[in-house]
């Protein structure tokens, strides 16, 4: 079930901004273990303005985390935010994924969105969201967030029963308990585990070592595993991923077509968003901002 995020990651990671699983995490402090990021993050975090008004600082609205070696030949190594040591293996996998998308997944996704009516796809989305609520609850518990964990359990109970196996979402619409996705990755971030390195997973797309581990592990412990047997489980999980990917297919296609080196583009897109989320952690339990909304919308958006 987690898998759909991976496919989605390169596609809408940017578009959904904070929405994805990294941002939904509850880590309070930027990554400590990741020393190479620290330097650049610090310099980026505030703009210093010297003018007739004196010296002032300002939070930027747009940030950048340059790659260590740029393909464009511009050396940015002095303030590189990340390296890509696995490029030699990532590139071939990316190329494979790219062809797979182009010839199989995108045409299929287009057909899928065309044929299946919106309300149906909405319900499918609800179903997949609901079925991973126990995972959310566990992760939130591990992150020490008992309140959110309880909410996730509550949502699961309501939606699985009143919401008819999770095909509807009365927890949100009637009880106003918003969904808040939490993954193993979030938990790891919470325990200051570094992301390791950029990684492209076959079929699933852009990721990193930490997130890759999270994905694989979650798919093993996914609640669906306890409800069905293989190969049905696999089919269902694959369908879940495909379902999440389908509305984004045209997006991938468009971005891909406008880019000279799609590998670099999607890598930077992924890495910058990830590093940004690390540097600007979610406002936890903020009175005004409800971080839960973000996660909710993230997982819900493909269905909309």
């Amino acid at each position: 079930m987690r898998s759909h995020y991976f496919i989605k990651m390169p596609l809408v990671g940017a578009v959904l901004g904070a929405a994805l699983f990294l941002s939904a995490c509850s880590s309070h402090s930027p990554e400590q273990s990741d020393n190479q990021n620290q330097g650049s993050n610090k310099t980026e975090s505030e703009l210093v303005i010297n003018s007739s008004h004196g010296s002032q600082t300002l939070e930027p609205t747009v940030v950048s985390y340059p790659a260590g070696s740029s393909v464009q030949g511009v050396s940015l190594s002095e303030n590189a935010a990340f390296e890509d040591p696995l490029e030699f293996i990532n590139r071939p996998i990316f190329a494979f994924n790219d062809k797979l998308f182009e010839y199989v997944l995108i045409p299929a996704a287009k057909g899928y969105t065309k044929v299946v009516p919106d309300p149906v796809r909405n319900s499918v989305g609800n179903f997949f969201s609901n079925i991973r609520e126990p995972l959310n609850a566990l992760n939130q518990l591990f992150q020490g967030d008992v309140g959110d964990s309880g909410k996730s359990v509550g949502r699961f109970l309501i939606n699985s029963t009143v919401g008819i196996l999770g095909f509807f979402d009365p927890a949100t619409s009637w009880f106003e308990i918003d969904e808040k996705v939490s993954t193993i990755n979030d938990t790891l971030v919470n325990y200051d585990v570094g992301y390791g390195s950029y990684l492209v997973l076959p079929i699933l797309g852009q990721s990193d070592l930490r997130n890759g581990f999270s994905t694989i592990t979650e798919s093993v412990f996914h609640p669906i595993q306890y409800a069905t047997e293989n190969p049905e489980t696999l089919y269902i999980q694959a369908y879940g991923g495909f379902h999440a990917f389908s509305p984004e297919a045209p997006t991938y296609e468009q971005l891909r077509s406008e880019t000279d080196d799609p590998y670099i583009f999607f890598r930077n897109l992924y890495m910058q968003s990830m590093l940004r989320d690390q540097q600007y952690p979610e406002l936890q339990n903020g009175a005004a901002v409800e971080p839960a909304n973000v996660a909710d919308d993230a997982s819900a958006s493909p269905q909309e």
């Binding site: 464009q72 940004r276 600007y280 406002l283 973000v294 909309e304």
Partner: protein, 807 residues
């Protein structure tokens, strides 16, 4: 020569009158071609680099023409159903106007911040009040500190909301303009700053093509504003509604100038009639000057119509000036005639006229020539509207002098001698008083002059150039209140753009723009926001701020920005960002409006501070440019200031030269030029001391002061020299005689014009008030210096020739 002319005129008086009637009729017909173009655009220097740059930028970013209408509820909350209903209704009525492309208001703007994600498949029209009927409370929440709409659609205090009426551009006109710009662009590249002859002709042809469209547009705009006022009228019970924006301001200015012209034109005319009658107590001495003035103006305007001279803001005073100068000539003629009449009881009307003409022909001609020379100096200013003002005044002078000199005898020749005229008691007392004073107190006069002159020089040094269109309207007026409200609450009036060209090393192939670029822009904007005078500031930064807000306060990465930009619908990006980002030229635009109502605002200093701050932000001067009206006005003002004030020396040089030719004496020429210099200096000094800034309207005052002063001087000096040449006279006698003749004419002209123009102080239009009072002051100063300092200097330095020969 003058005798021959006099005879000719008197003999053919009837014929001449018929010719004038015909010429007048012809002029009246061609006067219809005459155009007053009070719009500020006429001031902008064509083929000036900055002007072309602004044109190019405007074409590139195509900002739209708009009017702001502010709605300020009287007794209900701003965010309430009543407001929403009113706005809805007013807007739909605006929308029905043919040229209106759209009306932006709080009800139909997409409230992107209500979406809690940045979805590329966003349908902006789904996120509006119109689509969702959000509650008043929700609306209030959305518009509180909104990165885009605060100061634009809702003011900071949330007491009023604005509707932005956006007009469709005229395609045909746009097309012609872009053709012109394409040619003009030539000056921006390469060294040759001049356009070739061929290009100039092409531009002229294009402009001729554009002109009827522009005329039509101007009329349409006038009607539109009237219509808008009609539309908002019924809503005024519940709310205050204000119109604003640069272009309403322009229209209000034209309206007020026109109504002033009518009201004060007739008031001044009436006042002049009254004073003429009081002074001369004969209907003919009222009718004749008016006839001369009226016909002179009519002929001049007719001539301008034929020559296609257009009055601009700068030259809009030409009628007033021509009235002054014509009156002066006629009054001198009248006084001369009456004096001859009084002394010579034998001659008939024709003889008296002949003599008047012969006596006054030369000084009037000289006065005309010297005044023309003064105005001719404007031709060297190099600023188109000032140059054309110079030409207009030269033509006007020529017409005035010849019309008065010919008409006066021609009209009077048909009358018989009436006799019995003498000067009033008061003026006689004044003349003898002045004459005695200047003869008895030379040291005092010279000393006072030196003190005043010194003070004036200090005042001149304090002179400032400042142009605030808002300050053109008197503070108590409704127009001022309205415009000021919009200016203060809805982001300023005069547009200023900063165009940032992304440096080559910041450009990235895979990104729409790099984070560094946005951050640079953010820094600039942050600095700009803190200036007191900057109103609303918008650029790409506002959108990234909004995105950040939607993104739960987290900044976007440069790749996310790129993805959004690429995925958003093209028409939507054009609508949102087209005015701020031009990908082909890699240029970004920060647009702001300067608040004209900022107290004690020094515009030149502001621009310098901005440049210095940009320098401190380490932004290379070649990577940005400042454009649009604010800079253009500032530029033209500075040029005007330099040309008007700094070339005064040139003017006086030329004047001295002409005086030298006329009087054939260095000494006399130098003496005669001194009162003129003094008058001009004191006028400017007074402005300096009173902190009246030189603006587009008052900047010609030095030329005017000089034009007025030189008239008095010539008449006085000319008569003095004549008196001096008479055998029996010594210099004291000559001064006394001069006073007794020309003195009256000087008093009369001064009284008539000073009283007449002081009426302008009742106007609502500040430049009119200043113009009236300063002209009045110039008249008085010229009179005082010419009746005190001038006789003292003449008496001291210009001795009679026969006296010299004797000793």
């Amino acid at each position: 020569m003058s005798a021959f002319l006099a005879n000719f005129i008197i003999r053919h008086a009837k014929l001449i009158l018929i010719v004038f009637v015909l010429a007048g009729a012809l002029a009246a017909w061609s006067a219809q071609q005459f155009k007053i173009d009070a719009s500020a655009d006429t001031l902008l220097i064509k083929n000036n680099k900055m002007f072309v740059e602004t044109q190019v930028v405007n074409e590139r970013f195509s900002p739209q023409e708009f009017i702001l209408v502010a709605y300020k509820p009287k007794n209900h909350a701003l965010f309430s159903q009543q407001t929403f209903n009113d706005i809805q209704q007013i807007s739909s009525e605006f929308k029905a106007l043919p040229r209106v492309g759209g009306v932006t208001n709080i009800l139909n703007v997409p409230l992107l911040s209500l979406s809690n994600e940045l979805d590329p498949n966003l349908k902006p029209e789904q996120l509006t009040w119109q689509a969702n009927q959000y509650s008043a409370a929700k609306m209030q929440q959305v518009f509180t500190d909104h990165p885009l709409f605060t100061d634009l659609l809702v003011n900071q205090d949330q007491t009023a909301t604005a509707m932005q009426i956006v007009f469709k551009p005229n395609k045909e006109l746009l097309d012609i303009q872009s053709q012109i710009i394409a040619i003009q662009k030539g000056i921006l590249q390469g060294e040759n700053t001049e356009l070739s002859e061929e290009d100039e002709q092409k531009i002229e042809a294009l402009k001729a093509k554009a002109q009827p469209i522009e005329e039509q547009l101007k009329l349409t705009r006038q009607q539109e504003i009237k219509k808008i006022y009609q539309i908002i009228e019924p809503f005024k019970d519940d709310a205050d509604l204000f119109l604003g924006g640069a272009y309403v301001l322009g229209q209000q200015m034209i309206d007020i100038i026109q109504s002033d012209l009518l009201l004060f034109g007739s008031a001044i005319g009436l006042a002049i009639c009254l004073i003429l009658f009081v002074l001369f107590r004969k209907i003919r001495w009222v009718v004749l000057p008016l006839l001369c003035c009226g016909l002179s103006v009519l002929l001049t305007v007719g001539l301008f119509g034929v020559l296609d001279f257009r009055a601009t803001v700068i030259s809009s005073n030409f009628i007033a000036l021509q009235l002054i100068l014509t009156l002066a000539v006629v009054v001198h003629l009248i006084v001369e005639f009456r004096q001859l009449e009084a002394t010579d009881t034998e001659s008939n009307q024709q003889d008296l006229l002949r003599e008047t003409f012969i006596n006054k022909f030369k000084p009037c001609l000289y006065a005309g020539i010297t005044t023309s020379v003064g105005f001719a100096s404007l031709l060297f200013s190099g600023i188109q509207p000032v140059v054309s003002f110079g030409w207009m005044m030269i033509v006007a002078m020529g017409v005035s002098i010849s019309a008065s000199l010919i008409l006066f005898p021609a009209v009077l020749a048909s009358f018989t001698r009436k006799g019995d005229s003498h000067e009033g008691r008061l003026s006689r007392w004044l003349v003898s008083g002045l004459s005695a004073f200047s003869l008895k107190r030379p040291t005092f006069i010279v000393l006072t002059t030196l003190v005043i002159g010194g003070g004036a020089i200090f005042g001149v040094l304090k002179l400032d150039v400042e142009n605030s269109f808002l300050n053109y309207f008197k503070e108590s007026t409704q127009v001022r209140t309205e415009l000021e409200f919009i200016d203060k609450e809805f982001g300023g009036s005069t547009p200023l753009d900063l165009i940032y060209t992304i440096p080559k090393d910041e450009r990235r192939d895979d990104l729409v723009m790099s984070a560094r670029t946005v951050q640079t822009l953010q820094k600039i904007q942050h600095v700009m926001r803190q200036y007191e005078a900057t109103g609303n500031i918008t650029s790409v930064v506002n959108f990234t701020e909004l995105a950040k807000k939607v993104n739960q306060g987290k900044p976007l990465t440069e790749y996310e920005l790129t993805v959004i930009y690429k995925l958003l619908d093209d028409s939507l990006t054009e609508q949102l960002l087209g005015a701020y980002f031009n990908p082909e030229n890699q240029q970004l635009r920060i647009s702001t409006r300067i608040q004209d109502s900022t107290p004690d605002f020094n515009r030149a200093e502001f621009l310098q501070t901005l440049r210095d701050d940009l320098d401190m932000l380490e932004i290379a001067p070649e990577s940005y440019s400042l454009t649009n009206l604010f800079v253009l006005y500032q530029d033209i003002l500075q040029r005007l200031f330099t040309s008007q004030i700094m070339t005064l020396g040139l003017v006086f040089g030329a004047l001295t030269l002409v005086l030298l030719v006329i009087f054939r004496s260095f000494k006399v020429a130098i003496i005669a030029v001194i009162p003129n210099i003094l008058t001009t200096l004191v006028i400017l000094g007074v402005m300096g001391w009173l902190a009246i800034p030189l603006d587009l309207m008052t900047i010609t005052i030095s030329a005017i002061a000089m034009g007025i002063a030189v008239d008095d001087t010539i008449h006085f000096v000319h008569r003095y020299l004549e008196e001096l040449n008479k055998e029996s006279n010594d210099s004291q006698q000559a001064v006394q005689n001069t006073f007794k003749s020309v003195g009256f004419a000087l008093i009369y002209t001064t009284t008539i014009i000073a009283v007449g123009f002081s009426l302008l102080s009742f106007s609502d239009f500040v430049p009119s008030i200043l113009f009236g009072l300063l002209t009045c002051l110039a008249m008085l100063l010229a009179f005082i210096t010419d009746t005190t300092l001038l006789p003292v200097l003449l008496k001291k330095f210009v001795k009679p020739k026969h006296a010299l020969a004797d000793s």
